[in-house]
Amino acid sequence: MAKTLTHLKRLEAEAIHIMREVVAETERPVMLYSVGKDSAVMLHLARKAFYPSPPPFPLLHVDTTWKFQDMYRLRDRMAKDSGMELLVYQNPEAKARGINPFDHGALHTDMWKTEGLKQALDTYGFDAAFGGARRDEEKSRAKERIFSFRTATHGWDPKKQRPELWNLYNARKNKGESIRVFPISNWTELDVWQYIQLNDIPIVPLYFAGKRPTVERDGMLLMVDDDRFPLRPGEVPVERSIRFRTLGCYPLTGAVESTASTLSEIIQETLLTTTSERQGRAIDKDAGGAGMEKKKQEGYF
């Protein structure tokens, strides 16, 4: 009788295979680490892929200075536990100009994240960057390759993607080009959650419901994470039992009211919910239907 690998075991094996290929065939790989649940799974897979060696690349956090405090705490702990070098990059120009999500809207994401990422990759000379994007997240991601090439100016051309056959990846690149590699492309949100549960992977506590100070603004439930949050006239933070389905910059990430305090309950809530995952994030909405595709052509991850 044949032993059949479960879908999670197959997805894990595929991701590990991809990570090892990148390490073998590129000069200076790095893992982008955003501290979210997908990053948590990526880091765990990296540790599995190279055990007993520590993963032979650093973690890079492109920081906007506007992440939740809980995220910074977990980031530092995970870097220490994994024995990996943690590089934190903050775009100096954005810092100098005081770019923030309250006053600058879309410019905030562009300067801190898109520009910050390009600068960080150029500064350190990384030729391959692992990212935790999944094809089920968004329509344009469904067509992106696992090895996604970027021009010297970090642009993405969806019409010039290399064919990817079997499990053979072509990591050869021209001078100045770099690769974004997405080892968990074929995972769904449910797979990510279940993998976290089965492997007991630490995640930011904000994913679990808890009483937190919130305000309701423009149809989103925002958490007042520190005293930089400018309250509008009449706004008073209210304690609500909330949790987050995705984590980004705290003023840009909407919470949902919830009492889900265990992974099983989170998964249950996710499965029964009627809105798709990224709805809590403002980023996909900027440019109508083609929002993410446009951002990617400009160099967003």
Binding site: T4, R10, R20, K48, Y51, N167, S185, T188
Partner: protein, 676 residues
């Protein structure tokens, strides 16, 4: 971790009951279509409603079920007109993979740009990129995900037009199953044949013939039977031995998840039922001999050395005897290491790290295999090649070839033929253009470990990479190797070539004398050997004429025979150098390519090309053996310098100008050069 595996009964993937009215069709026995159709044996189970109830009432039971699901990857083949995107949209919709906000957006988009009037246009869910949405066509491979209570599915959605053959081949390369869509109003079309051929070519054994848009022909059984019979005849003609036909409507939902009331005459499985139960490739791969390509050597400290890779086929247990190819050294597996603790056994599809009981050479590009059943290594193959680049194949140009974790230089010969993907005719071809498929010989610059593609996708499938643009320009599938040595395995020996040389207290070398007949090669070579012998050097002289009395007495003087003559001498010289000897050879060896071939056989620095440079007039004047006279009179054909060219070495290690040097002086110069 016992929970890693889900036991799966090895039921036949293609039960033959049912015939046209029901289950799979066996094209080799079409009379089975006449047998009465059994009634549906499967009950409706696991509907999305029940799944939702389970999630709400007992999430842990649901997760336990989900945790044990297997995975099936499949591809849908057809064009927009066949309702392919609609079908995929329907599968996502029926398995509750569409969230409410997506559905709201879909309803709005359907009214704005949809092609279904006021009804939901499922195709809009699937057509991703902005450019595609505008043009209303799918131009790339998109991957979709859904799951039922039995399996998780990954669908590769690829375009159907001929100009997108490369996309279809790409999507099919990872698929266990292909759904070939037919528009019931149109029947078997050229594109149906093309899609079926490509799916078969890439090795997909599970084919579903989905006769779609049954609603538009009034669910007419006779029409359906006719289409299936048509297809069966075609399928058999290209070697497809079995397929599973079903009447469906992606738009109306007939026979997608639930048996349709509109087709009471059809008693086979619904599409979803079939996808949930068909056997996946991994199951069959496990039954094959063990092979794993080494991706990375794991060496955290001096006490640990592990070899990381993904198991391509078979299984491996602690204590198993293995062989590392192409070297051929053997050892046993001492550990199967994972972060969760050592495993006793690992199977095809798993990514693992193996440790050996012995310290043997093993690095990226090597293949670890069952010791008693290793794959072959070869450097010349016949292969099917799918060209994927705008720039056509350049015959004879060097490309990178990646197979498993091996990366070598390769050249493709002029195609034996190209295949017309619409008619399967063989056409003459000088090259291969974008989307062309042909059969050609491929030569690699060193032997690679391989298996025929039909036996092992991982060790038989390769890509070609342009060395200048770095683009992936082709995909290939190896048929077989063209050298007779294919079943000869390299026997590893303990006494190495360095040990042979050290015992003789010398550095092995091949002194390769080249030059015209009568240039003085043999005379000088003989003097060199005498001098080295007096200096206690272990030498051996291979002379052109002498070798032709024995080893090469079956060879004549045609170009092919002269190349083979040099190849054999090169191989003998290499063996002698391996034994630690200083080998001296004296052959005209007029062609640069053959001299370079011998140079490539030897380690760097051991091939010393010595060009005995004597003008043709002078050599002809000496004419020691009277050969030039015979050649001039036409009595001797293909004589170098007269009616066959001599290609002067571009940069020999030594050039001896016999016009300014005596043979004795030349020999001293050569001896100095190698004894220094």
């Amino acid at each position: 971790m016992g929970s890693d595996f889900t036991p799966e009964t090895s039921s036949s993937p293609l039960p033959l009951a049912g015939g046209v009215g029901g289950g799979p069709v066996d094209t080799t026995n079409r009379t089975i279509a006449d047998t009465p159709s059994p009634s549906p044996s499967r009950e409706r189970e696991g509907s999305s409603y029940e799944t939702e109830a389970l999630i709400a009432e007992d999430i842990d039971a649901y997760l336990d079920q989900h945790q044990h699901k297997t995975m099936l990857r499949f591809i849908t083949c057809g064009s927009v007109d066949d309702g392919k995107s609609t079908l995929i949209g329907r599968l996502l919709y029926d398995s509750k993979m569409i969230f409410e906000d997506q559905l709201a957006a879909l309803e709005a988009d359907s009214k704005r740009v949809g092609t279904q009037g006021q009804e939901i246009d499922f195709a809009l869910l699937v057509d991703g990129l902005a450019a595609e949405r505008e043009q209303g066509i799918t131009i790339d491979v998109a991957y979709r995900f859904f799951s039922t209570d039995k399996r998780k599915f990954i669908v590769a959605d690829t375009p159907g037009h001929e100009q997108y053959t490369r996309n279809m081949v790409t999507g099919a390369s990872t698929a266990d199953l292909a759904v070939i869509l037919i528009d019931a109003r149109k029947g078997v079309l050229t594109q149906t044949r093309r899609h079926s051929y490509l799916a078969h070519l890439i090795g997909i054994r599970n084919l579903v013939l989905a006769v779609n848009k049954m609603d538009l022909i009034g669910y007419d059984q006779a029409k359906y039977d006719e289409i299936v019979a048509d297809y069966a005849a075609f399928a058999e003609s290209i070697g497809i031995t079995a397929f599973t036909p079903m009447p469906i409507s992606g738009f109306k939902g007939d026979n997608i998840t639930d048996p349709s009331e509109n087709t009471p005459w059809y008693s086979g499985p619904t599409l979803m039922q079939h996808l949930e139960t068909v056997e996946v490739n991994l199951a069959t791969d496990q039954a094959k001999p063990f092979r794993m390509a080494v991706q990375w050597v794991n060496r955290p400290n001096l006490d640990f050395r592990g070899f990381s890779g993904q198991i391509a086929s078979g299984s491996v247990k602690r204590g198993d005897a293995i062989r590392v190819l192409p070297g051929g050294k053997t050892s046993t597996v001492s550990r199967i290491v994972t972060i969760d603790g050592d495993l006793e056994e690992a199977v095809a599809g798993q990514s693992v790290t193996l440790c050996f009981a012995d310290e043997i050479d093993c690095s990226r590009g090597n293949v670890i295999a069952a010791a008693d059943n290793p794959p072959e290594a070869a450097d010349q193959f016949e292969a099917t090649i799918v060209w994927m680049d705008d720039a056509p194949l350049h015959v004879g140009r060097s490309y990178w070839l990646k197979l498993g974790t091996q990366m070598v230089s390769a050249t493709v010969h002029e195609p034996k033929y190209q295949i017309n993907v619409n008619t399967m005719e063989h056409l003459a071809a000088k090259t291969l253009d974008l989307n062309a498929i042909g059969v050609a010989e491929v030569t690699t610059d060193r032997a690679i470990v391989f298996e025929p593609y039909v036996d092992n996708r991982t060790l038989g499938g390769f890509i070609l990479i342009d060395k200048i643009t770095n683009a992936t320009v082709a995909a290939g599938m190896l048929h077989f190797s063209l050298r007779r040595a294919q079943n000869v395995h390299w026997q590893a020996v303990d006494i190495t070539r360095d040990m042979h040389a050290n015992l003789k207290n010398q550095k092995p070398a091949v002194l390769w004398f080249t030059g015209l007949s009568g240039s003085g090669k043999s005379t000088i070579a003989n003097l060199v050997e005498k001098k080295l012998h007096r200096m206690n050097r272990h030498t051996f002289l291979l002379d052109g004429d002498n070798v032709r009395h024995g080893l090469n007495k079956d060879l004549g003087f045609t170009e092919a025979d002269r190349i083979e003559n040099i190849r054999r001498v090169g191989e003998v010289a290499k063996l002698m150098a391996d034994a630690g000897l200083i080998v001296i050879t004296a052959f005209i060896s007029p062609f640069r390519a053959e001299r370079d071939m011998v140079r490539a056989m030897l380690p760097e620095g051991e091939f010393i090309e010595i060009f005995i440079d004597t003008a043709l007039a002078e050599a002809e004047r000496r004419d020691v053996k009277g050969l030039y006279k015979k050649a001039r009179s036409g009595e001797l054909k293909n004589f170098t310098g007269i009616d066959s060219p001599y290609e002067r070495p571009d940069s020999p290690e030594l050039r001896i100008d016999t016009a300014v040097m005596t043979p004795e002086q030349a020999a001293d110069l050569i001896v100095d050069r190698i004894i220094q």
